[in-house]
Symmetry: C2
Subunit: 248 residues, 2 copies
């Protein structure tokens, strides 16, 4: 074995959105797609890092191009460095479409959370990108199905440890929407009454005066997430001394 | 800006050890060190990734070479991708000592925790590596002082959230040693009585029949860390439902 030359570094992003019922991920078409190659057409948004660009800068660039958004919840998850992750025809495609001659691509996986509002959907539709229900995805280009699976695992973990769920919801949401989101990400049925009780007991949800409109069932009330109270409570906890923060 | 070619990927490891009083880090001499270049002589152990090698495999290889140990607490922390992190004479040294021609090196930082027993010290001394008190280190090769600072930050954070401290202690330790360790990593004075009370209240320390020997002061009792009880308590907590795990 010798030191690797002709290697490239890329970023790939699983961009999640939630439509009130289903968890979706943004997929784009492979550049210079040629059905004759029998390679999968859809992939996660990604790019090679440029000269004079850090990895986080590359990830932000990819996200801005893919979603039109600059202020976005973005988190680095893991590095995919399996030497066999991109080989053969997939490696040929990379070299052809980038005009380079690399022998290996290590990629850094990120996940991003966006509020799936009309503006974002209009932008991505214009770019011919698609929001696809996560559960329906069987195959993706290269090892992107693997990267997506990892991203789901990180999202699932983070949603249980911190309030990232609210990055996926509109500013005003119903408890039912919040429950649907947890249910979609955790992949489990959640008991209505327990969920509502726990969420309200957290002290971080603020009831608004507004209700759903034009729904067949009894219109539910909208809530907002009280970030300031959450942050204050978190600081309070930090002050209590390090042993109280141990995960036991 | 264009896609980066001729770039390399490396791993660098901050290997921490604790001698009962001071926190130390393992430093090695730069290969082909030439005082005439005025480059810093000492660096963290590290290596370029090899063909057919993943990043974690490269990190394990570096650690095995540096410490002689295979089963070691090893954690990836962050990626250092600043395009200016290694330039000029430092980049020349890399190319000369590796016989390559790279224009940029992105490195993945790891930290490792070892029990500083006689066997490890004998091995590292034989290899002419040094255990240096962390606080005394002013400069290191390349951006390794920056990587060391990051590693300290991660260690400090992790020691407050999980029982990684015990990876640095011998199997049997006194409460005083544990306190010295927290004090060294957190960089603060810790109140004796409070610390002892909290640690014993955690329920994860088991008193042994043994006491210190040959000390001037009243010999202290040795404790062990009860990993099984800790893990059980952690699982118990996970079962309570996701909202109890929120960091508030």
């Amino acid at each position: 074995m010798s030191v690797q030359m002709n290697q490239s570094l890329s970023v790939d992003c699983a961009v999640f959105g939630f439509d009130g019922r289903l968890l979706k991920v943004l997929l784009v078409e492979r550049r210079d797609y040629d059905p004759g190659t029998h390679l999968d057409r859809l992939k996660l948004p990604g790019a090679m890092i440029l000269e004079n660009e850090t990895l986080p800068a590359a990830a932000s660039r990819v996200l801005a191009e893919a979603t039109g958004l600059r202020e976005i919840y973005l988190k680095q998850m893991e590095i995919f460095s399996d030497p066999a992750r991109v080989t053969g025809k997939e490696l040929e495609w990379i070299n052809r479409s980038h005009g380079i001659n690399t022998e290996r691509v290590v990629t850094v996986g990120y996940y991003a959370l966006v509020k799936l509002d009309r503006r974002v959907v209009a932008y991505t539709t214009e770019k011919r990108a698609q929001w696809v229900e996560v559960e329906s995805i069987q195959r993706l280009a290269m090892d992107h199905k693997q990267i997506l699976s990892s991203a789901l695992w990180y999202l699932c973990r983070d949603m249980q440890q911190s309030p990232v769920a609210f990055e996926l919801l509109p500013r005003k949401f119903t408890i039912r929407e919040l429950q649907n989101l947890y249910s979609a990400v955790l992949g489990i049925e959640i008991d209505n009454r327990n969920f509502r009780k726990k969420m309200l007991a957290s002290g971080f949800l603020t009831l608004t005066d507004e209700r759903e409109q034009g729904v067949a069932h009894k219109p539910a009330r909208y809530y907002t997430f009280d970030k300031a109270t959450y942050r204050k409570a978190q600081k309070e906890k930090m002050r209590l001394g390090f042993l109280n923060n141990w995960r036991y």
